[in-house]
Symmetry: C2
Subunit: 414 residues, 2 copies
Amino acid sequence: MKNAFYAQSGGVTAVINASACGVIETARKHSNKIGKVYAGENGIIGALTENLIDTSLESDSDIAALNHTPSGGFGSCRYKMKSLEANKAEYERLIEVFKAHNIGYFFYNGGGDSADTCLKVSQLSESMGYPIQAIHIPKTVDNDLPVTDNCPGFGSVAKYIAVSTMEASFDVASMASTSTKVFVLEVMGRHAGWIAAAGGLVDSSIPVVILFPEVSFDEKAFLDKVDNNVKEFGYCTIVVSEGTKWPDGRFLAEQGTRDDFGHAQLGGAAPVVANLIKNALGYKFHWAVADYLQRSARHLASNSDVEQAYALGQAAVEMALEGKNSVMPAIVRISNNPYKWEIGCGELKDVANVEKMMPQNYISEDGFSITNSCREYLLPLIEGENYPPYNCGLPDYVVLKKLKLDKKLPPFEV
Amino acid sequence: MKNAFYAQSGGVTAVINASACGVIETARKHSNKIGKVYAGENGIIGALTENLIDTSLESDSDIAALNHTPSGGFGSCRYKMKSLEANKAEYERLIEVFKAHNIGYFFYNGGGDSADTCLKVSQLSESMGYPIQAIHIPKTVDNDLPVTDNCPGFGSVAKYIAVSTMEASFDVASMASTSTKVFVLEVMGRHAGWIAAAGGLVDSSIPVVILFPEVSFDEKAFLDKVDNNVKEFGYCTIVVSEGTKWPDGRFLAEQGTRDDFGHAQLGGAAPVVANLIKNALGYKFHWAVADYLQRSARHLASNSDVEQAYALGQAAVEMALEGKNSVMPAIVRISNNPYKWEIGCGELKDVANVEKMMPQNYISEDGFSITNSCREYLLPLIEGENYPPYNCGLPDYVVLKKLKLDKKLPPFEV
């Protein structure tokens, strides 16, 4: 009977731990077929360095509490495995560690990069004579994975942005007669405007202008739109994606630093937009940058999102037990109203390193709002509330013990 | 039988409408003693320009829904009445409008400036032979009013900041091994550090450094503290008040604009702090600016806060019916654990234009965190959750009809 390895990858979300919970609880239910679940301390680096957390030492109630705890309960990492050609030793090390701890199942919970790693581990392990069943569990607030209808993590961010846009708009509407007339909210989404689109879910009586990374920033058209809104409604709310670019391709605001994947670290598009408005139109403004608050806001998680994150973790284990390999459980939408979905099975070769952008017909012709098709797609994803328990005014989130296995192999430098 | 006038003043909050709800529902219960409640459209300006909303035309269910709706349901304004000497005509106009509409009760829902206006209206109306009972209902997210133990609006912001600090810290802790090690959250609080202090309510296992407006910014001590936290805990969370100042008295970040009260409009302390850290210590950072999100976040309101906001509105009407004048219902704390409070009665002369700062013994000796006394004071204020109803994934906030009375007086320029 083989053990399983589970790791969290990349930026964490409000519900990635719900997937972890689904994996571990389902494995515990099949303890006659699957051994222990080991988790990578800080993601895949934990596997490379043989820092494996023994989840069997966590209580049932602590594992259950993962379902309502944001962030990565075992730690995540931004660490991109190089190509097989560039660093085969790294993949071989991974498989050696798996072999040393009798691990036959690899559950990797992440985005496009980790789907790619998953696929390679499956292929190489086969050729090394120690076949690992590698199953990817989708997670990304950016909602940019193909094959699955939507990605766990996104629905909760979308709900947070929609609710925050609504609440801040109510605020500005109250103040606009003598004070703030323009409110700018900066949201995540480096390449795809899915998160910014969620700002468009508020009632159409609220004037929201969205700046998508998919739409080249047209300063004049934008300022005209804002000015018209202020004249018609008395105020205007702007939701700007961190990935919005000038016509020449530069981001509205780049901080000049890059992460380990070589992605530019962004931030500060909101003050740039606010100042453009002030200089051109003179309106008093306020701006906010939601940053990590939006992706960690488990207090406002979408119930659809929590349920799907758990179900995908559960399905990953069930697929493993059915002998599947190089696959990813995926959300398949059956109907919008009432919202019905089921779990399908995607092939990793179709997932790895493919980025799903917003379809063109989800963005309005003027480029500043969402279409009805987009609204119909998004609304079910923010459906339902799923509140964590509270204790003395604060959410009762769990911190695991994270006790580690004894190491069996020589150290390995990453 | 006299009518009543109600107005909202200054920055709105998640629960100022709960006070409005308390005023209107209580007045409706005493319809044998008090006439209609008229509300100022956009605050006191609505009274000056005779734009009076007839709240009797709003349904019971819409008025009840104010209790769970953030922002100012009737519109607020930033408009400071000048001194009696400088612009007596403005006060006289107010009293003429009240007289024209048979208004005998003035309920003004705001901060220190509006308490001052309230007091003057009471005094002048007496001398003009049309005595108005003026009652101030406290409201300010800054928690800086004297006499009352705490201010409605503050508890919900405090809860939002405490929860957000906790959630973002969980996020950073997950990422810190390979990525972000420092997270900076900028919060409101121009002169008083009450809101920033709420960041200190998270569990002591989370390394939070707070920058208060009350403490002159000591860059070296701050950077040492951050560095030590990163070395000990792997990461550090910083909560910086928008009002934090350099030793020379300049704000860390001033946008150069001023509001109608002459207050500097702040924003952008978070990126300043983040860049200081990056340049000195090299740690990867993320920063967020919560701005209006924090004060409009009715989705995460504190139950204590909602109940108190309503109770103060109710008490204001009851005091009016008891013949009281120039007073403010106030929160009196009876015990911390269990939290018990009651409504007391303060004199407006003790409230007007007095700012309550954080007591020195609420800030730790090193100036970067809160003391146990502070924690004991704050915790009851974030106690309990009070969720709004939702519809299709979004809060079901009410937008009132806001039908206005016919005008009886010539126009008045403000």
